[in-house]
């Protein structure tokens, strides 16, 4: 049964991205979209709309959703805390501060990669700096126990959110763009963002996948993990760093999108159970699909081509659904 469901989810993934190519204020029929994806002409306006504006955007949304979900599995597993999520170590604050700096100081020009502004690069640098700061703080506080790590993340997040507020207060003209960026979304994202995110997605996926058996053992807690031969202190930091890099890179390309990294792992656990490897696969698929559909809603629900930030959609739609599932589980006497 889980095998069949996994197979179904593997099929749903490309179909979801395809749906992302169909949806939008200008209708594009199935046949035209399939024809264009199979080999359209670059200067055709329909090609531009379907491939440049919708396909890469949907692909990015899928990758980001999957990345955040797998990162969430890693965080919840290592910290043994169902409330942990990809931004627990402060990478979202770091990325937001990096982006705010870039916007405020006017470093938004083009980079070596065509079509990519400097904002995501700054955001990524901010995310990595925040991750480094959290790990150094935790080590300085006498260890890498889960409480110390969570506390270090909270300290870094609080510090950065104060920095962002200060920055907003000092740079009134850039406040709107910073706020809009922080809310997260895929408007105007394209191939360049996919290429920017892909290496971090690949690296993060590889590392958490490689350590999936250690994740199973770590679920028992530090002492038992050591007794079973896991180099717990080292492995935990490696997994969290990889998961944070994957989440931080996601924030860099599309802003802070909450909820997916928290809810997808829960949904996977409730629906499928099993070890870390299955959890990673299932919640990755779920997260990707969830975020593409949220993005479709975000760009079609308002009339006249206006868009909602996708983070608003994930929280508005996902929140109640998630609550419903939790209640159902609690009611089932589990």
């Amino acid at each position: 049964m889980p095998r069949l469901a996994l197979f179904a989810m593997l099929l749903i993934a490309p179909l979801t991205v395809l749906a992302g190519c169909l949806a939008g204020p200008y209708p594009a029929p199935w046949s035209a979209v399939l024809g264009i994806l199979a080999g359209g002409r670059e200067y055709d306006p329909a090609w531009v709309m379907v491939v440049q504006m919708r396909f890469y955007r949907s692909l990015l949304a899928w990758l980001v959703g999957a990345g955040l979900a797998m990162s969430g599995v890693a965080f919840q597993g290592v910290l043994r805390n169902p409330l942990a999520e990809p931004f627990t170590l402060g990478v979202s604050g770091g990325a937001a501060f990096g982006a705010a700096l870039a916007m405020g100081l006017g470093y938004t020009g083009a980079t070596l990669i065509p079509g990519l502004s400097m904002v995501p690069v700054w955001a990524l640098a901010g995310a990595l700096a925040a991750l480094g700061a959290a790990l150094v703080l935790a080590r300085g506080a006498g260890g890498t126990s889960r409480e110390t790590l969570v506390l270090a993340g909270i300290v870094v997040s609080a510090f950065l959110s104060a920095c962002i507020s200060l920055f907003k207060a000092l740079n009134e003209e850039s406040v709107t763009s910073v706020v809009f960026w922080i809310m997260g979304g895929f408007q105007g994202r394209g191939a360049a963002d996919v290429w920017l995110y892909l290496p971090y997605f690949g690296l993060g996926t590889l590392v958490v996948w490689f350590y999936s058996r250690e994740l199973d053992v770590l679920a028992l807690g530090q002492a038992q993990a050591v007794q079973l031969g896991v180099d717990a202190a080292r492995v935990r930091v490696r997994i969290l760093a990889a998961a944070s890099v994957m989440a931080g890179a996601a924030v860099s390309v599309c802003g802070v999108i909450g909820f997916v990294g928290l809810a997808a792992p829960h949904l996977a656990r409730l629906g499928f159970g099993g070890g870390a490897r299955r959890q990673l696969a299932v919640s990755g698929m779920l997260g990707g699909t969830l975020l593409v559909w949220s993005d479709i809603v975000a760009r079609t629900i308002l009339p006249g081509g206006a868009e909602l930030p996708v983070g608003v959609v994930t929280a508005l739609l996902g929140g109640p659904f998630f609550l419903f599932l939790l209640r159902k589980k609690a009611g089932g006497g589990a």
């Binding site: 490689f210 058996r213 199973d216 053992v217 679920a219 028992l220 807690g221 530090q222 002492a223 038992q224 050591v226 007794q227 079973l228 031969g229 896991v230 180099d231 656990r269 159970g273 099993g274 070890g275 589990a334």
Partner: protein, 271 residues
């Protein structure tokens, strides 16, 4: 097999083991006794690699414990913990299978021989029927038995037990110890920390009494389990007699015996 010399260890600034010496040979079955906070759990944590000694030497199978790689050590010493929480979504068989982790190759999964070892451990502990059950749906005793099964599945030469039978009923306690004796007869070295003096005296050939982080008494059960000794260890009045069937020494507390009350221990600790 196990050798500690001048071993000191503790948590943070609090020293629990204060210069402890002991030697345990291959194939012994040893009971580790002592009041709350005497260092039993701390000693087992040091021997299983969870806690690094602050001074002294610890050797396992002749090798300094710090020089062993984590998996290598886990292939020599298995431990069943005193406290553990069941994991949401983990079944009994997958919990037991984790005992094979030390033997996994860099990228491989659990192979047929791993599953065979897990099945054998489940059968030994009578858990075969519960193999597919969620660990969160087990009773306290069943979960504790599953943790022992996992430790057996680790196929080590040394087994460390920390109150491994504390949640079991009388009959299951006896059954677990019969199983341990069986494994011991096949060459397994067992070091078992227990509060139940009489259980230890019934099943262990040798007892080690800890007090204040040092070995207070160590020797064959019949020699060390005396009224004077247990009164000295626990600071209360005991009556010691021979087990009517096996002749093993057994002890019961005498009520109103003028013990030192709750003040006698060294505060809340790790048993």
């Amino acid at each position: 097999m196990i050798e500690c010399r001048g071993l000191r260890a503790g948590y943070g600034g609090r020293e629990v083991l204060r210069g402890l010496d002991l030697r345990i040979a291959r194939g012994e079955m040893v009971g580790l006794l002592g009041p709350n906070g005497s260092g039993k759990t701390t000693l087992l944590h040091v021997l299983s690699g969870v806690l690094a000694p602050t001074a002294g030497t610890v050797r396992l199978g002749g090798r300094e414990i710090g020089t062993l790689r984590p998996r290598q050590r886990a292939g020599m010493v298995a431990a069943a913990p005193q406290r553990a929480e069941p994991v949401d979504g983990m079944t009994v068989s997958s919990l037991v299978l984790l005992g094979r982790y030390p033997y996994l190759s860099a990228l491989g999964g659990y192979g047929p021989q791993d599953h065979a070892a897990a099945a054998a451990a489940l059968a030994d502990t009578g858990l075969t029927a519960l193999a597919g059950r969620q660990t969160t749906a087990l009773s306290g005793g069943e979960f504790q038995t599953a943790l022992l099964a996992r430790a057996l599945c680790q196929s080590t030469d040394i087994l460390l037990l920390d109150e491994a039978a504390s949640n079991l009923d009388v009959a299951k306690k006896a059954a677990m110890h019969e199983l341990l004796r069986e494994k011991n007869a096949l060459g397994l070295t067992v070091l078992s920390a227990v509060h139940d003096l009489n259980l230890a005296a019934l099943y262990c050939d040798r007892l080690i009494f800890l007090k204040n982080g040092r070995v207070l008494a160590d020797g064959p059960t019949h020699t060390v389990f005396t009224r004077e000794r247990v009164e000295e260890v626990y600071e209360t009045t005991f009556h010691v007699f021979a087990h009517p069937v096996t002749g093993a020494p057994q002890g019961v507390v005498v009520p109103g015996g003028g013990g030192s009350g709750f003040g006698g221990g060294r505060g809340p600790g790790d048993g």
